[in-house]
């Protein structure tokens, strides 16, 4: 792999190697630029993916070296519901390895609906006082990049003609994953209720593609590295191509603590901690910030200077605000015959009819219902039985026998509105392991978000009953406190007073800083963010490359 001396000013530093960072690294290096990727996590099993174990006990006791997700005891964070509360220790965690969250995610790859980019002006059900706003990008502008992402990463799915699914200009490169019993039960319910079932588009290949093997339906999927490289993570798609250019260096265990600027307000490079926690400076002509929707705003807030007293690129004051982390809800059920849902991908089929908001429901909100089972043996044994099942003894054993493989779960992925009060900022008291102010998350979902979750909870029950369930249960709804789907915190917009980046992800305040990840989202979609992050990244890269090739990168991007 190419190695650059830290004294050398490279064309681009990319912070993060996940869904967006991996694409930026590959696109920029392929276009001929020198690139250093700074990844906070380690290599994982990069290049030797067959060594990923499928061991549930080890996964619960992972060593620092083998971690694929951030460790809330090191990457400390705090949580509070609102400004009146004192934040307490949080459990927010995100992908932290070469490839980021795409190394372990379930792989759901739904595109946003065309109208999701202009929902604020389109949808009369949106209540006043929220941060709902139109995107400065249209679906039509983004569509070619969705297609590019699907084909370059390798997404499986079925192109369908439905008012509830985004139109595509091209088929998926590989067919959808095989129907699971949970999907078949969706079909049964949908036939009775007149609903629409679509195979989940997934970043999991079902046929050999671009030198990678097809999914073997091992079943120990989300949360685990893929041994056969069927999951189309940045680590097996983009990063190897970036490395192959000979112009891209991936520096792991590199935790950026500051994006540095000069007196003219231009970015000059970054300062990061290496694995030994020593500070290293890396100069760059341009910095691409792709650290995820929670760490990107935090790094901007950490990068204060005399010129940027409220944090870098934050003259609008909205860096970190409008945080969306993802809401859900759902229900589980037992059926007469075995489903064996532990086999295959986690998320097979979706019911999509409720993707849009509907005035008749009396609130704003929409989402998708996804059919899931995915109870691995330990999950089942520890906490996976139906609520009344005994926790030990003869009754427990009987329930294990009867419920195993007979269960399915509906997980809903639903809207969460951007609210100015929901945000990431710096905790005034708690420090992370590197001595930097810890991330503080302040978050309470909008009342309509709760009504929407309850709507999907009830729909889930209705669908499971229509599918013929013997027993249905649904935990009470709640909003999340963190997680991998962080969005909205450096929102995109045309007005520098109300947004952080422009429609091509350039920071309004800083000419050579781009912020490309979930933080760019204006609205949250239906909490399936990765496909749109990837499309946005391909589009941003196109724009940057086109301009950078015009002349001096430092001034022309």
């Amino acid at each position: 792999m190419k190695q650059y001396p830290t004294s050398q000013e490279v064309d681009f530093v990319v912070i993060g190697s996940g869904a967006a960072g991996g694409i930026m690294a590959k696109q920029l290096s392929t276009a001929g630029f020198s690139v250093v990727v700074l990844e906070q996590g380690g290599w994982g099993k990069y290049g030797r993916e067959h060594e990923y174990n499928k061991d549930e006990w080890l996964a619960r006791n992972v060593s620092e070296e083998d971690r694929l997700m951030s460790d809330p005891s090191r990457q400390r964070n705090t949580f509070r519901h609102n400004d009146k509360e004192k934040a307490t220790r949080g459990s927010h965690s995100y992908g932290c390895v070469v490839g980021g969250g795409t190394v372990t995610y379930g792989g759901s790859s739904w595109r946003h609906m065309p109208w999701e980019f202009k929902e604020a002006s389109y949808d009369s059900t949106i209540p006043a006082g929220t941060g709902m706003a139109d995107w400065p990008v249209t679906y039509e502008e983004l569509e070619p990049y969705y297609t590019q992402a699907e084909w370059e990463m390798g997404m499986s799915g079925l192109r369908v003609d439905s008012p509830f699914v985004a139109p595509m200009s091209k088929d998926y490169p590989v067919p959808p994953v095989p129907l699971k019993s949970s999907g078949a039960l969706f079909n049964t319910a949908a036939a009775k209720l007149g609903l629409t079932v679509v195979p989940g588009p997934l970043a999991i290949i079902t046929k050999p593609y671009m030198g990678r093997a097809a999914c073997v339906n091992c079943g120990i999927c989300s949360g685990y590295g893929c041994q056969v490289r069927a999951r189309s993570s940045s680590a097996v798609t983009m990063i190897p191509l970036a490395e192959k250019t000979g112009r891209c260096e991936i520096r792991v265990r590199s935790y950026v603590r500051e994006i540095s600027t000069d007196s003219s307000g231009r970015v000059t490079g970054v300062v990061y901690f290496n694995a030994q926690k020593q500070e290293v400076r890396q100069k760059a002509k341009v910095v691409i910030l792709s650290a995820n929707g929670s760490e990107s705003p935090r790094l901007l807030l950490l990068s204060k200077s005399a010129r940027f007293p409220d944090g870098l690129a934050n003259s609008s004051g909205v860096v970190g605000k409008y945080l969306m982390v993802g809401n859900g809800g759902g229900a589980s059920a037992l059926f007469e015959h075995p489903l064996n849902e532990y086999k295959g991908v986690i998320s097979g089929a979706g019911i999509v009819d409720y993707v849009g908001s509907d005035p008749k429901r009396g609130f704003y909100g929409g989402g998708r219902l996804t059919a899931r089972g995915y109870l691995t043996p330990l999950d089942l044994g520890l906490d996976g039985l139906s609520p009344e099942a005994p926790r030990w003894g003869a009754g427990y054993k009987k329930a294990l026998r009867e419920e195993a493989n007979h269960r399915m779960t509906i997980n809903c992925f639903v809207t969460q509105m951007p609210l100015e009060t929901n945000r990431v900022d710096l905790d005034p008291d708690v420090k992370d392991e590197w001595g930097l102010p810890a991330m503080r998350i302040t978050l309470t979902s909008h009342p309509d978000d709760f009504k929407n979750m309850e709507f999907f909870r009830k729909k889930s029950i209705e669908i499971l009953e229509a599918a013929g369930a013997k027993k249905v249960w649904a935990p009470p709804i709640n909003d999340t406190r963190g997680g991998a789907h962080n969005r909205g915190t450096c929102r995109m917009g045309n007005d520098p007073k109300t947004s952080v980046v422009d429609k091509f992800h350039k920071a309004h305040d800083v000419p050579n800083l781009y912020i490309v990840d979930g933080s760019s989202f204006v609205t949250g979609g239906r909490n399936h963010p990765t496909m749109t992050i990837q499309a946005l990244a391909f589009r941003a890269a196109d724009h940057i490359i086109r301009n950078a090739k015009k002349g001096n990168i430092r001034t022309s991007v």
Partner: protein
């Protein structure tokens, strides 16, 4: 707690110490079965030596585990070697739980004596009596710890010392081949209804 090797005889004598002699006589077959298992397992070299528990402690923990996932017409926690999983876990990932086990065993003993003053040892109680004791402590952190570790020992990969001969996986019909082909279950093998919603 340390590794100790003992003759079968001294092991049994020590394990029975402090018990009411008449009670021991009445319940001897049960005690013998419990102790014999740990003893023979450790002596025959089929299993790793206990690293943390003494054999006497292992008998108590195993008696608890065997109530959490009992043996009926199918094997339970005892046959799955959950106690060996726990012993090993306490030297590795669950090292921090060692003091909780030491204290918990003392509390178990106290609760046993409180309910059954003549018994002396939890493992020496009848099954019904053991269930009575455990029902009284089932909300305690110690019980939950043993429950968690027993379940993990039952279902974690066999190389961690439990789930002997995939007993746990067999109970729930889990095929660990990590390579499956459709149809996966009953419902996806049936003819599917025609849906009108989305056209491919």
């Amino acid at each position: 707690m340390s590794t100790r090797k003992k003759s079968r005889r001294s092991f049994l004598v020590e394990s029975a110490m402090g018990l009411n002699a008449a009670w021991v006589a009445a319940n001897y077959p049960g005690i013998l079965a419990a102790q014999q298992f740990v003893h023979s397992a450790t002596q025959k070299g089929q299993l790793p030596h206990l690293a943390v528990f003494t054999e006497a402690q292992a008998v108590e923990i195993e008696a608890m585990a065997a109530q959490i996932i009992p043996t009926d017409d199918t094997p339970g926690a005892r046959e799955a070697h959950c106690v060996y999983f726990i012993d090993r876990a306490l030297t590795t990932f669950a090292k921090n739980s060692q003091p909780a086990y030491i204290q918990g065993l003392q509390d178990l003993q106290a609760k046993t004596l409180q309910l059954f003053p003549d018994a002396g040892k939890f493992s020496a109680l009848t099954s019904e009596q053991q269930i009575k004791v455990l029902t009284q402590i089932e909300k305690t952190p110690f019980f939950n710890l043993v429950r968690t570790h027993t379940v993990i020992g039952f279902f974690a990969r066999p190389e961690h010392g439990g789930n002997f001969e995939k007993i746990g996986w067999k109970l729930i019909g889990y095929d660990d081949s990590l390579n499956h082909k459709a149809p996966f279950g009953y419902y996806d093998a049936q003819p599917q209804p025609k849906l009108t919603g989305a056209k491919a």
